[in-house]
């Protein structure tokens, strides 16, 4: 009974949404309202105002820089929530089920990890550095760093990975993004502009563009490192089992 009611509700929702979709202007039309009002200014003056050739990165870091700062704060808040629920693991090194499985870490996965992880790290640093001139950016490279560390956790064991990145090291690296945003923004405010202004009026005109590129690189690296280390911390928190682990059943 409940199933039929839920199915009817979903079908009603689908019918309503499809009806609205039929009323929208056709996709890709050149004189859609979305392509006419604000966008020509971003596309034409994006390169000289934001200093990047990748206009999406220019929008993310320059025109909507506060949104990116808030995005890093959301990641940190999610990590804080996960630590509140699952424990920080600061006291002792925990176990994980992948260390206790009957099958030893196979030769194939270890060899593949040894060959792949340096290439993954190199590629992710490349994606971070070229984020302003080609598709990529801070988050993509950072997530690839996190993926590389996850592969090393799975291939070499949880205790090995946790000894490489203990809690006090991860704690410092997780704050890199917000610190980078604060430093770059304060440099903008101190140098004569607003918060998060990259072109400072108080510098000489020749080095303003170089300074802006340097600031963008600092931000990209901060975002990349933070995203990678936060994803690693979340994986360690999900894998870690404390010794006192009771399962309470009701009867």
């Amino acid at each position: 009974m409940k199933k039929i009611l839920a199915l009817l509700l979903t079908c009603a929702l689908a019918a309503l949404l499809l009806y609205v979709v039929a009323l929208l202007p056709p996709m890709g039309d050149a004189d859609n309202p979305t392509n006419r009002h604000v966008v020509p200014r971003y596309l034409e003056q994006g390169e000289e105002e934001a200093g990047t050739r990748n206009i999406v990165a220019g929008v993310v870091l320059n025109y909507r820089g506060y949104d990116t700062m808030g995005e890093m704060a959301i990641l940190s808040a999610a990590l804080a929530g996960i630590f509140a629920v699952l424990g920080t693991g600061r006291k002792k090194v925990g176990n994980a089920f992948i260390d206790r499985s009957g099958v030893q870490f196979s030769f194939i996965s270890r060899t593949a990890a040894v060959l792949l992880i340096p290439l993954i790290m190199l590629f992710s640093i490349y994606v971070i550095i070229y984020g302003t001139d080609s598709p990529g950016g801070g988050f993509q490279g950072g997530a690839a760093i996190g993926a590389g560390i996850m592969i090393s956790t799975v291939a070499f064991g949880f205790n090995t990975a946790q000894n490489r990145l203990p809690h006090h090291v991860r704690m410092i690296l997780e704050g890199t993004a917000i610190s980078a945003f604060f430093l770059v923004g304060s440099a903008g405010a101190v140098g004569g502009g607003n918060f998060l202004t990259y072109m400072l009026p108080s510098l000489a005109t020749q080095i303003q563009a170089t300074f802006r590129t340097a600031m963008l690189l600092v931000l990209e690296f901060g975002i990349g490192i933070t995203v990678g280390v936060i994803c690693t911390s979340i994986l360690f928190a999900l894998l870690r089992e404390e010794e006192t682990y009771n399962v309470e059943h009701a009867g």
Partner: protein, 80 residues
């Protein structure tokens, strides 16, 4: 040609999403979610958004899938 590719990718999207949501074995559902993110990554490239393709494949296809597998191995693995 591109229109046909678009329609084929859309059909693949619906098939993988349905399998991910309706299958009883949770591990199969999570792997289908990863394939869903891969097909969506191709869709992003067709919509001229390479940044989003990179972000989707690495964030949903690799990282979220690993989180899911870590959780599923510690809880029930089968059955609704």
């Amino acid at each position: 040609m591109l229109q046909t590719l678009n329609v084929v990718l859309l059909i693949l999207l619906i098939i993988t999403a349905l399998t991910a949501c309706l299958h009883r074995n949770l591990l199969v559902a999570v792997i289908m979610l990863s394939i869903f993110s891969l097909v969506m990554g191709t869709m992003w490239v067709m919509l001229r958004a390479p940044d989003l393709a990179l972000a989707e494949v690495v964030a949903v296809g690799v990282i979220t899938t690993t989180f899911f597998v870590a959780t599923i191995f510690r809880t029930d693995r089968r059955e609704e």
